[in-house]
């Protein structure tokens, strides 16, 4: 048992922590230098880095429900950097680097678990694409390689190498692939931010954006109006809805994305395994549950209901990959609303409004980017609108100029 736990043995009923992780509710002020809309991981991470690196603490994070209750709470926590484009890989690699040290930085265990991610190729077209991803990832210092059937069998002995008439040809083995306790990431950031003076307001919904002469002057909430210097929207699934309130459209379509989990069993699966052809990924959490996820629902919808057809097809694929899962029991199924862009890359940076910044288009892949988004968005705010190099490729304007950063193939099956 780690010594750190000994202090809890005093038998006190009360938590030993000197102060709560999260402060209780309080009144809204009339004015903040920075208002962040959305108390998901991205929102609180931005607040954290603003306070920590830039000394900007007159900041309010406004969250319509509860901290991290949007996609932060629903995602399957895959963290990886084995994307396809140099722009993407450079960006996500920087996020992975931040994640690796996050628990110690927070003094709060986010249970960062680097178990590696294995993606299966069933066609030679995929083998080619994977080889390219491995090469690009290595180029930026990531640990990714192509492995053959033999090595796959050694890595995951219980995997069916010939599922659904689609024999596995090779695998993309990404040693840096990881998961983290998703809620803890949001809590860690919120805790660090509020300890430094940032205000987190839950149950506070932004219902309107006030602007004049191309500039935001304030936000309207269910608890009253707030004047502000800079606004960041980080509302994930509701990105296009929020930008409409600010007066401009975003090229984003919202699709539900579902995931599911089984009853816990003793550990048998260490790496995260996903199949490109079956559009399914399977991983075992530190509680022993098997998490199963895959593709989005087939049609756009602003509703996070779960559905039967998706469950049936996803489970069928999971059973194809691991036949013995057929004897296991499904515990829970849920969905989130994801903000999809045409090129499967985010939209970050400036907007048509001068002091209104965007952190949107996170679709099915944004959890892994939480730290780097927070860091770069904070830099953007602190510099008064100078877009950090790392996120320049993700500008909203790229869609006008045919400068897309296409990550579709590298995102499809494994987020």
């Amino acid at each position: 048992m780690p010594l750190g736990l000994l202090k809890y043995g005093r038998g006190s009923d009360y938590p030993f922590e000197r102060q709560p992780d999260l402060p209780g509710p309080r009144e809204l002020k009339k004015h903040y230098d920075v208002v962040i809309i959305g108390g998901g991981g991205h929102g609180v991470a931005t607040a954290y880095y603003l306070a920590k690196y830039h000394g900007i603490t007159n900041v309010a994070v406004l969250e319509k429900a509860y901290l991290g209750g949007g996609n932060t709470a629903r995602n399957t926590a895959v963290i990886r950097s084995n994307y396809l484009t140099p722009e993407g890989v450079r960006f996500y690699s920087a996020s992975v680097k931040l994640y690796e040290n996050l628990a110690n930085e927070f003094d709060f265990n986010i249970m960062y678990s680097q178990r590696g991610q294995l993606t299966l190729a069933h066609t030679d077209a995929t083998v080619r694409a994977f080889r390219q991803r491995a090469e690009v990832n290595k180029h930026f210092g990531g640990r990714t390689e192509m492995i053959d059937r033999q090595s796959i069998a050694e890595l995951v002995p219980c995997l069916n190498l010939d599922p659904a008439q689609l024999p596995v040809l090779a695998g993309l083995w990404h040693q840096d692939g990881a998961t983290a306790r998703h809620d803890a990431v949001a809590w860690g950031y919120a805790r660090g931010a509020t300890q430094r003076g940032v205000e987190l307001h839950q149950l506070t919904e932004v219902t309107g954006i006030e602007s004049a002469a191309g500039q935001v002057t304030g936000v309207v909430t269910n608890r009253g109006k707030i004047a502000c210097g800079t606004v960041i929207q980080a509302v994930a699934g509701h990105s296009a809805v929020m930008s409409q309130k600010a007066g401009f459209p975003l090229p984003i379509v919202a699709y539900p994305l579902q995931a599911m989990v089984t009853l816990p069993v003793k550990p048998f699966l260490n790496p995260l395994v996903s199949s490109s052809a079956l559009h399914c990924y399977v991983q075992q959490t530190s509680r022993g549950e098997i998490v199963i996820g895959g593709g989005s629902d087939p049609y756009p919808l602003y509703n996070s209901r779960a559905s039967l057809p998706l469950k049936e097809s996803l489970i069928a694929s999971a059973v194809d990959m691991f036949p013995f899962l057929s004897e296991m029991r499904l515990l829970r199924q849920w969905a989130g609303i994801t903000d999809m862009t045409a090129d499967y890359s985010p939209i970050m940076g400036l907007s048509p409004l001068k002091n209104y910044y965007l952190d949107a288009g996170w679709g099915t892949w944004g959890f892994k980017a939480t730290p780097i988004c927070g860091k770069t968005m904070a830099e953007l705010v602190a510099s008064g609108g100078e877009v950090p190099t790392l996120i320049q490729p993700f500008t909203l304007e790229r869609f006008d100029h045919f400068q897309q950063v296409n990550e579709m193939g590298a995102t499809a099956a494994s987020h």
Binding site: R131, E135, L166, R305, L330, Q333
Partner: protein, 966 residues
């Protein structure tokens, strides 16, 4: 000797004439047919069934309905099966779960002693310091996690699925559901009645509603007979409706079958979950809910060993005590949390049976017997004020404790549909509101508890369903139920803790409260921080207590606090049943058998399979080289049936072609083919093929094997807007095709017999003709993907195998050799032809890949025109070019990177050794400044070795294109 059981009317489910045995923890257990594993074990006096998730505490059944996680046990094939859901019969050795050593002596139970060092969320506070330690601790934690052990050798069993349709789905066949079903069916609706019990009647089969207990048996008999005999009611018992999905789409699991029910409207008569009292050691085996004890006796005839204590938060518990006493169970006392029952006749009834009654008192602590794994005694204290006890204890020896703190509506299905829970302080009860359209509630899920009221409520729900179906019905009855079944605060904190709120996750009162104190105030955050409600029973027995505790700790109302979102499924469900039978159809061309006979190495191509080459895999290179040699020097033939085929026919066919594809088609002469490239609205090339104009109003177009479905649906989508006058038909499977290629291809066709003049003059390159080949009607196209004289023959699929055979015979004098798709890829690469999807990616525009010629300059519109124009007017960012390397250089593989000054500028898309040219050739994206034939590019090959590759002019082979024109 068979275990003794209670006489009739107890034990409705068991067959006393059929004893059964099974193995549990290496010992033989006896029971009767109809027993489940839990009832049989308790019948033998064994309560210990498993170990808890976190502290490895001994656990036995709580609900005896399969509604809690205490009875998750291990079977030879599966982990985490509920003992109540497993029939008692020989099924290999069953065992408890989550222990090291034995179920009785679990070494991990040490964790229970260390519990105070492990406060709620302890894992967030430790294990990561000093840096790097986490790697070690993570493994320790992972290995301690999980409940049962998955059998990795298990294979899917046969399971199946069926669709069912009905007007009204009634979920729950208790008194409310039976009445609802009868009312709806009598009113003319088709009814499906579903219940998870084997018996109809729900609580009527085990619960005593009144002291006299006079009308219950009769009511049950009358209702179940009426239902069973009604021809508009279909009954599914032993069947769990596990979710409510939009529009009343209901998955019902019955054994290894999944019914997918489409109902027009539904009635939820799902009852309620009895709630435990929260006190120290309330999780000891031998402590059950009152309904659990009732089920044991009434369903299985099991009268557990006493003495028993009954802990009552309502009148119902008194009735349990009375039933039990009548069955012969010795009752050490009834402890009522209240000062007196609502029905003042109850105390007298108890004393008549000689049962001691303790009022305004609670069981404050339970103690185990010597074994440490079974209830041995309880300490009772008077209650002073809410949750606080006095000073004078009473000690009672007992082996059984049955409790009822009240009920929580079985809210799950309603909440899947978006219903909300509101708390009523006067009754201390949650009720459901904001039901989705077409959903009706009846019975205790609707907070109605009195039997008469429940029945009336059921009939009203049936009427509601009839109205929703626009069927006639009479007026609703007034339903009144004044009964209070919930105690407002059945929660007793103990200085030493271990008062479990959530049995699944081993959470005590302080864990819940401390979550809120740490700032996790929202009920959802409490859940996420403490894990309350995350376990297998999904908060069924903890949500109410948690809401009360958090409301209290955060000074909000219970309604404001609420419960966490209920997600499907209601009960853990089988992945095997969800997956269903697995069908993996694969498309085979008519020549498939021939390929196999020729020893082809088959590979998947979209949903098809096709030959990669002929011969053994370990002679791949040689086989491909031999096939390529045949095509270049003699003649070869390839089955190209998987190519997509689309027919466009009608007055506007040419106009449609002209809009959808990038090239011009209006003036395409009949009898000619044209290359047809398809762009999307972003200007990216997404597919290509050959368009043959067979008549003024008739085009036959090919598309790529994997792309045709998308091309076809895009065509339909566009024409839904354009409304041009033509028919579009996918004929991929109707036609099969063979490409005969090589200098002798004309001779082979002539040999086979062909009524078309094949000379270059009358059938020139890129022409198409219709005629007979070897007696088979065929569409012929002179196209040259592989760069030789060649004919592509498209014939009705029925005749394709005959064509193949006849061509093989006709080709014999010319040593015709079938070739596969990999050989074709090599040959086309030699010719510099790109493959869409291999040499292009999701961003490739025509200018980058040398397809500028395939863009019509003049026409105003085609799909993607605007984007293509913008893209092609911008400076190129990359360009697809050919390169060569000597065979001795490290061979780049497809996917390797092209670097320039250390930066990634492109990638190799195709690369092969060309036996014809005796060098390595390839296509790659390079920086536009390096795209000229005199430049060189750097390619990083395997293991980081860089090679300098000179850029080549395309095509590599036969630059003058003389051969395909022959």
């Amino acid at each position: 000797m068979s275990p003794s059981r209670l006489e009739h009317p107890f034990g409705q489910l068991i067959d006393r004439d059929t004893p059964v045995t099974f193995e549990f923890e290496g010992e033989t257990v006896q029971g009767y047919a109809g027993d489940n594993v839990a009832s049989a074990l308790i019948g033998e006096g064994r309560w210990l069934m498993s170990r808890s998730f976190k502290y490895h505490r001994p656990r036995g059944p709580l609900s005896l309905a399969g509604h809690d996680a205490n009875t998750l046990i291990q079977t030879p094939t599966a982990a985490n099966r509920l003992a109540e859901d497993l029939m008692a019969k020989d099924q290999g050795t069953l065992s408890g779960q989550n222990y090291l050593g034995s179920l009785k002596f679990d070494y991990y139970s040490l964790l229970d002693r260390l519990g105070r060092f492990l406060p709620v969320g302890f894992y967030y506070r430790a294990f990561f310091k000093p840096r790097g330690m986490w790697r070690f601790w993570e493994n320790v934690i992972r290995n301690a996690a999980g409940l049962g052990v998955a059998n990795l050798e298990a294979t899917p069993r046969y399971t199946d699925k069926q669709y069912l349709f009905c007007d009204v789905a009634v979920i729950g066949a208790g008194p409310a559901g039976l009445n609802a079903a009868l009312t709806a069916a009598t009113g003319g609706a088709e009814v499906l009645l579903v219940d998870e019990q084997e018996l109809l009647g729900g609580a009527l089969t085990y619960h005593r509603f009144t002291l006299e207990d006079d009308s219950r048996a009769q009511t049950l008999k009358a209702l179940s007979n009426a239902v069973a005999n009604h021809d508009k009611i279909r009954v599914l018992t032993g069947a769990t409706c596990n979710a409510w999905f939009s529009d009343h789409y209901l998955p019902v699991f019955q054994g290894d079958r999944l019914y997918k029910v489409r109902a027009k409207t539904c009635v939820l008569a799902t009852g309620s979950s009895e709630q435990p009292v929260v006190f120290r050691n309330n999780d000891l085996p031998g402590i059950v809910l009152c309904s659990g004890l009732e089920r044991l006796m009434m369903h299985h005839g099991v009268c557990p060993e006493g003495p028993a204590v009954i802990l009552a938060g309502n009148d119902d518990a008194y009735l349990t005590a009375i039933t039990a006493a009548e069955a012969g169970l010795s009752i050490a006392g009834v402890v009522d949390l209240r000062s007196e029952p609502d029905d003042l006749a109850l105390p007298a009834a108890l004393s008549e049976l000689g049962i001691t009654l303790y009022q305004s008192a609670t069981v404050y602590e339970a103690h185990s017997d010597k074994s440490g794994a079974q209830l041995g005694a309880v300490t009772i204290y008077p209650i002073e004020s809410e949750g606080k006890v006095g000073v004078t204890p009473t000690h009672l020896e007992c082996r059984l404790l049955a409790m009822s703190a009240g009920f929580m509506p079985a809210y799950q299905l309603a909440c899947h549909g978006g219903a909300k829970l509101a708390y009523h302080d006067d009754k201390s009860e949650f009720t459901l509101t904001e039901l989705p359209e077409g959903m009706h509630l009846a019975g205790s899920v609707n907070s109605t508890h009195d039997l008469k009221a429940v029945c009336a409520d059921g009939r009203n729900a049936g009427r509601g369903a009839l109205r929703a179906l626009a069927l006639e019905t009479d007026n609703d009855e007034t339903v009144q139920c004044e009964r209070h079944v919930n105690h407002p605060w059945p929660i007793f904190k103990h200085p030493k803790g271990r008062e479990f709120v959530d049995f699944d996750e081993d959470l005590q009162i302080k864990d819940i409260i401390n979550s809120a104190r740490l700032g996790y105030r929202d009920i959802q955050l409490v859940k996420r921080y403490s894990t309350v409600g995350m376990g297998p029973s999904q908060g069924r027995h903890s949500a109410l207590t948690t809401a009360r505790l958090i409301a209290d700790a955060t000074e909000r109302t219970v309604t404001e606090t609420g419960v966490t979102t209920a997600r499907p499924p209601v009960k853990p469900e089988s992945l095997g049943v969800l997956a269903g039978r697995r069908f993996h159809p694969i498309k085979k061309t008519p020549m498939d058998q021939r390929h196999l006979a020729l020893g082809a190495h088959m590979i998947p191509a979209g949903s098809w399979r096709r030959p990669a080459f002929y011969g053994a895999l370990d002679h791949r290179a040689a086989n491909i080289a031999a096939e390529a040699h045949a095509v270049r020097n003699g003649v070869g033939m390839i089955d190209v049936s998987t190519l997509g085929g689309i027919e466009l026919r009608g007055p506007d066919a040419a106009e449609f072609m002209n809009r959808i594809y990038t090239y011009g088609f209006l003036k395409q002469p009949v009898g000619k083919t044209r290359y047809a490239a398809l762009a999307n609205e972003q200007g990216v090339i997404i597919d290509d093929g050959v368009a043959a104009r067979l008549a003024e109003d008739h085009f036959y177009v090919t598309a790529t094997t994997t792309g045709v479905d998308r091309v076809y649906s895009e065509m339909l989508r566009w024409n839904a807007q354009w409304r041009l006058d033509l028919d579009i038909a996918q004929v991929t499977s109707a036609y099969s095709a063979v490409n005969v290629a090589g200098p002798f291809s004309r001779d082979v066709l002539e040999q086979a017999g062909c009524n078309i003049e094949l000379s270059s003059e009358s059938f020139p390159y890129l022409a198409c003709r219709e005629g007979m080949v070897a007696g088979i009607p065929a569409r012929l196209m002179r196209v040259g993907f592989v760069g030789e004289l060649g004919f592509e023959l498209h014939v009705p699929s029925l005749m394709a195998q005959t064509l193949w055979d006849k061509l093989m015979v006709a080709g014999e004098p010319f040593n015709i050799k079938p070739f596969g798709v990999e050989t074709q890829r090599l040959l086309r690469l030699e010719k510099g032809h790109i493959i869409i999807g291999q040499d292009t990616d999701g961003m490739s525009h025509p200018g980058e890949v040398g397809l500028a010629w395939a863009i019509n300059r003049k026409k105003a519109f085609f799909v993607g025109r605007r984007s293509v124009d913008i893209l092609m007017s911008q400076p190129l960012k990359r360009q697809l070019v050919g390169f060569t390397l000597s065979p001795s250089a490290p061979k780049p593989e497809e996917g390797h990177l092209v670097l320039r000054d250390g930066d990634i500028v492109g990638t190799v898309t195709s690369c092969e050794y060309s036996p014809t040219l005796a060098k390595v050739i390839g296509l790659a994206y390079v920086h536009p400044d390096d795209a000229q034939p005199d430049s060189e590019v750097t390619i990083r090959t395997a293991d980081g070795v860089c090679v300098q590759a000179p850029i080549a002019t395309l095509p590599f082979y036969d630059p003058g294109n003389a051969r395909q024109q022959l």
